[in-house]
Symmetry: C2
Subunit: 368 residues, 2 copies
DNA sequence: GTGAAAGCGCTAACAG
DNA sequence: CTGTTAGCGCTTTCAC
């Protein structure tokens, strides 16, 4: 690396090197046209030879805004992979990965997409993005830390307790993602869970004509997502005049393993279901696992649907019909919402709903 | 959201509210033990009721360091998805996704993993992470912007031109990822491309005994990764006394489509290859495509290998043997390298090499 | 223990 | 066009 100097050069260094005042240096940086060409060139030359990089902190302090938005994620899992059999070792590990059962994707990918969306939008608006994962005990510190350096903050649902969020919101605009927080007074961006499930339900009930032997595999009772999705499905039943009693509701935990167990029970029971509507993709994959293990044909004997649109559903056998959530858009919308709020501090909280898309694949095709 | 006050409270506000000086407020925040308990409580109460969040910028300016590290990525692709057939529209789009060919994963996922690794490591060290994608004309601006706000910067190879990097490196430590830059004077973290390919090559040549009809499907001629990998393969040939002339080298572009075309030509030619060693996974997937299309059996008739360890290779049919790069580790190591350099400004540039792992899957199994 | 005061590096009026 | 001069909000000696 280039030799690290004692102290980085400042405007003063540049100014004296170029024989001008610090104000002129600042102008060359911010409003180049307001400086005579000759002067400008001299200053730029000085900047170059000194290796001057303006301090963003000083700039933010002096100006009003920082040009940075923050994104708080719930924290990445730091679960070390379990490794498959080691075959040989010759400096480089060689692993027999043939039996390495394809793991369900971690939910991290979900955040990754949000993050990328936010980054993209921030970039397009000339903003920088500061990311932090709010985990463990140091979370409060981190939240404050980030909040103190950005113009606005996007927070994924369940990441930060409400009181902390309210505290921070007194300083900068806060947008909550994936959870409609209007009631709490925050701006929010979320996805249209209810409409998505309603549409999917209508497909199963209306188009495919499955009006009985229906199972709804729900998530944890306190999940906001699940509540909305369940409601959407109930609407679909209503739309087609199917009584709620025609549907058996089973509660899982959004996990693949638990779903597999539950599905096994259902499939082995006397009243075999004709369709299992799952509140998320992981559950649906678990159901597929159970079906495959029993030789139950999907979709001929059993129709299965999920919700989320995770990649694993594109690779399952059969491929999984699902409701796709626009994760990237969620991130982008978050940044947009922050910028909006920055320009218009007043006004009631806004809740933005992003549309979802039903993707019909083999596990529940367009027609049987 | 909570009502947005005119101006966020500052230390002064807290100080007067608590009846102390700003120095005491600062102490309560930085060195709580240096303040009498009663005073401390009063200050904390004031902080709470005022909704005070310290300005990270002012803090960074006054103190020496910012507690933030920067990560510069080459930029995410902003290619809008092409959408499959629209079936119906009832508020929610319903799409027949059955024929939607599973797309090659975008290389974005690669960056996502690096990003997550960096985030994880930064978090564990109590640092925040500032991400930016260096694209387009505004790149220089962004780079300077980020560099001006962080203690150190990690940059993915090919993201920033050398001169800019050198300029920035005069202010803060810079670590280059995925490219050995020692020669350029930068610290670097990269992956052991050569050893990985050498080991994989040895498996194919030595263990499987394929000593002729070998094809090496390389990447673009100017790719540093490809250069190292090719060298590794040549070493493997050497190790087993196979003359370089026994191998046909074909240059692709690291893309799936091009690889498919090239593989088609090879497979349709008179001298059908027994093994195609590819310089990356995307190419290998293209080769698999071509093989499948022709009824060429893998691995019975043709052995195929990749390099990278992208997820798509875990789902292909047959599953792809590859050399897995520890992307997450790359990000973590980058942050570590920055912290190291921060603590030890002096000293020659360091190049860290991360180990790779050969994953044997069905496309080139442990034994035939 | 606590307060007073001097900057950190930059921007933004305000004069000239 | 360019220079002077206040701060921005906080940390940090140095006194008390």
């Amino acid at each position: 690396m280039a030799e690290q100097r004692t102290a980085p050069p400042t405007v003063y260094d540049v100014a004296s090197a170029a024989g001008v005042s610090i104000a002129t240096v600042s102008r060359v940086l911010r409003t180049p046209d307001a400086v005579r060409e000759g002067t400008r060139d001299r200053v730029q030359a000085a900047i170059r030879t000194l290796g001057y990089v303006p301090s963003g902190n000083a700039r933010a302090l002096a100006g009003k805004r920082t040009g940075v938005v923050g994104l708080l994620l719930p924290g990445f899992d730091v679960v070390p992979d379990e490794r498959p059999d080691l075959v040989t070792d010759g400096g480089v590990r060689v692993v027999d990965d043939r039996r390495h059962v394809t793991q369900p994707f971690s939910s991290n990918l979900y955040f990754d997409e949000v993050l990328r969306g936010a980054e993209t939008e921030a970039w397009q608006r000339g903003l920088a993005l500061m990311v932090a994962a709010g985990r463990g005990s140091s979370r409060d510190v981190i939240v404050n830390d980030v909040a103190g350096r950005v113009d606005g903050l996007a927070v994924l649902a369940q990441t930060v307790p409400d009181d902390l969020l309210e505290h921070v919101a007194r300083r900068i605009p806060v947008v909550v993602l994936a959870d409609d927080r209007r009631s709490h007074g925050f701006d929010s961006v979320s996805v249209d869970n209810a409409a998505g499930m309603r549409t999917l339900g209508s497909h199963v009930i209306g188009r495919l004509g499955i009006r009985s032997s229906l199972v709804y595999l729900a998530g944890p009772i306190d999940s906001p997502d699940d509540i909305e999705r369940s409601a959407g499905f109930r609407q679909a039943l209503d739309d087609h005049g199917v009584p709620a009693s025609a549907v058996r509701v089973v509660h899982g935990d959004f996990g693949r393993v638990r779903a597999r167990e539950l599905a096994a029970q259902l499939l082995d029971g006397d009243a075999a279901p004709r369709a299992i509507i799952c509140s998320n993709d992981q559950s649906a994959l678990g159901v597929l696992d159970a079906a495959v293990a029993r030789g139950v044909r999907v979709p001929e004997d059993l129709v299965v649907t999920g919700f989320d649109g995770i990649d694993a559903g594109r690779f399952s056998v059969p491929r999984l019909t699902t409701v796709h959530q626009p994760m990237g858009e969620l991130g982008r919308a978050a940044v947009r919402a922050i910028v909006d709020r920055l320009e218009r501090r007043e006004g009631p909280p806004r809740a933005m709903r992003l549309p979802v898309e039903v993707l019909l694949r083999e596990s529940c095709p367009p027609a049987l």
